[in-house]
Amino acid sequence: METSIKITLKNQVLLGLLALSVSGCSDGDSSFAYSQRTQSLIKEAQNGSEGGPGVKQTLDTRFGNPQQLKAWMKLPVEWGGSAASVESFAASDTEARIKFVAQEGVTLPAVASSVQFVTGEGAGQSIALTAWDEKTGEAVLAGVPDKTPVSGDLCVIDGGSTLKSGRVLYMRHCSHCHGAAGDGNGPTAQYMIPKPRDYRHGVFKFTSTNDQSKVSRNDLLRVLKYGIPGTYMPSFLLMKEDELHAIVEYVRFLSMRGEYERRLVNELASDYSETAVSDRLASEKASDIVEELQSFLKDEFPATAETLGDDLAEIWTSADTEDAKILPTVARVEDSAESRQRGRELYLSKTLNCADCHGIDGAGNGPQTVAFEKNPVTNELYPEAGLHDVWDNPNQPRNLQRGIFRGGRRPIDLFCRIHAGIKGSRMPSFKNTPHEDIWHIVNYLLSLQFESDPGTIAAKSVAPSETGE
């Protein structure tokens, strides 16, 4: 259903956006908070000028705010709604009647409250429906439109319905931890270790996709359904499939919004952040910098903003393709003492060097956990020892003896963790390791929980220096 909308609408350059208002919300005006990085830009870059919009406006026109979401049709989000075309239209002074035909492969919804025109003279206008008959496709419009739709005009009935219901569910069940903008900073977030995910990097840890790919819809769905043991993320197994689906789409929408914001800021941060400008003022005049910024915002930034959107659409689309998926080429090696032994050798080997972080007995206490690490962005040492993730939170390697596997305990889950690494964390990808070897390690990891004295056995049976060369 949604696919055909996308196909239908993709050609409509005129209508790049659909406005999706969420009515019936009385929880005040909420807004998507801008990131710290956006706020670190100089005011002119944040707000733009008459010549061209700044970061905030560029973002708002494409994503809207929680009450008035916008669907930037270029992005691979299943917005929801049914694609249809106008068959006939008749209007008197007071009433306008319209008849729709569903696009091929689309069924008309049982209940419909609005229609948005995509082509024709009335393209872009959104009109409420006061009466709707799903069988005949006949509807009464709430008002007589200024521009008369003609037969053949394309439209979307209840456009964005999935995203809107996702928003409602997200605000109810998720936002208190993950925040209204998906910044992982909701009211309950401060009580949690580990911190709730901040979606705005567009990075999710536990994926079945390869190391360079985004998270797939199915990965997000699994996390929603089964929760993340060892963290505060609970299971939402009892929600209906369509509710889960709507939340997944909304989370993807928020992720793309956040990631888009980051990318926009990246374009401006090196020259127009508060700190960059204060450095530049040593040799340049403030008015020159602002003038330069304004001409950049006017001439180049709009095109860049579109290209960034295209890039984003491409990487998020490819995450759901078969190519992105990790597929072991050999079946799991049968779990045996020899296989575990081999796994342990690999675990301790110099090439893989798992023990550097996870410790010689898998207790998550390797030498890296007591070393001070440099923040790769600021190049300063973190205040506390140990490893950190891209969200700058302390992120210690997993204690593998506890039998708690956050990304799932199936062999394939562990295989994916090793193959693709854990995105956003210091767990690197071992995609060049032969699949058979990965299976040996998986067998070893799954057995660690049941070893009475994993460290001693490891030291006795294999000396680290003998292996992995």
Partner: protein, 268 residues
């Protein structure tokens, strides 16, 4: 006006009698009929207490109305009689409720023992929990033994895990081990009348016999934190065969190595 209050207080016992007589047959007290064997006994106790409370309520209201009526119809010249300090009355209103309370506590002992005392559990379940239900903020994590094995208190290789859904056999007694990973929670299945606190550090066996196969709501009944309302799961009662089929499926899923998908995609 004085008589009005006597009639007012006589009116409510009549309402109470009517409600108590009609309520059980209309299911006003409970979300459904009890659907476990213990549930019938627990409901029986509830109705016994309901009768005692109704009789007490009706009796005291009738007495109150009588006193008011007498006061309203007596002439204004008569002196009031103060009962304060009457030993006889005090002894009566101490002994009668005490007798009732002792009666209730003795009557419920058998049912309580069946619910809580392990030696009174049905023989078939006494040492054979089908699953461990681990409550945690804010979900229920389930651990089944590997099919054919016994459930141990510490995880064993081959144990099967799931979350927020417990499959148990219907029509035969079943026992689960209830634990909590963090704070106190309570295992509450309203339609089965099962409610048991999960206490940190304890492994509490809970048994029930679900009469009909079907889906039952499992809730946390102990305010356990900000996400208490999220702690909802389901119990699925199925034939023993259905349960073992489910566990086989779960075992397959849990040993998923993703390679079957490769074969499938190659064939396409």
């Amino acid at each position: 006006m004085k008589k009005f209050w006597a009639l007012f207080f006589w009116f409510w016992p009549l309402v109470a009698i009517l409600v108590c007589a009609v309520a059980p047959s209309r299911g006003w007290w409970f979300p459904s009929a009890p659907l476990s064997t213990l549930g019938h006994q627990i409901d029986g106790l509830f109705y016994l207490i309901l009768i005692i409370v109704t009789v007490t309520f009706v009796g005291t209201q009738a007495a109150l109305g009588y006193a008011l009526w007498k006061g309203a119809t007596k002439g204004s010249t008569q002196k009031a009689w103060f009962s304060h300090g009457s030993h006889k009355l005090e002894i009566i209103w101490t002994i009668v409720p005490a007798f009732i309370l002792v009666f209730i506590s003795l009557t419920q002992l058998d049912v309580l023992a069946e619910i809580r005392v392990i030696s009174k559990f049905p023989d078939s379940v006494r040492n054979a929990p089908v699953a461990e239900v681990m409550a945690r903020q804010f979900e229920w994590r389930i651990r089944y033994p590997k099919p054919g094995q016994q459930l141990m208190n510490v995880p064993q290789p081959g144990d099967l895990y799931f979350v927020n859904e417990v499959h148990v056999p219907a029509a035969i007694p079943t026992m689960i081990n209830l634990r909590t990973q963090d704070v106190q929670h309570a295992f509450f299945v309203p339609r089965l009348r099962v409610k048991q606190d999960a206490v940190p550090g304890l492994i509490i066996p809970v048994w029930f016999e679900i009469e009909k196969a079907g889906e039952y709501e499992l809730l946390c009944a102990e305010l356990c934190g900000w996400g208490h309302y999220k702690m909802k799961a389901r119990i699925i009662a199925d034939s023993p065969k259905g349960v073992s089929e489910y566990l086989t499926r779960l075992e397959q899923e849990q040993n998923e190595d993703g390679v079957a998908e490769v074969d499938a995609s190659k064939e396409q």
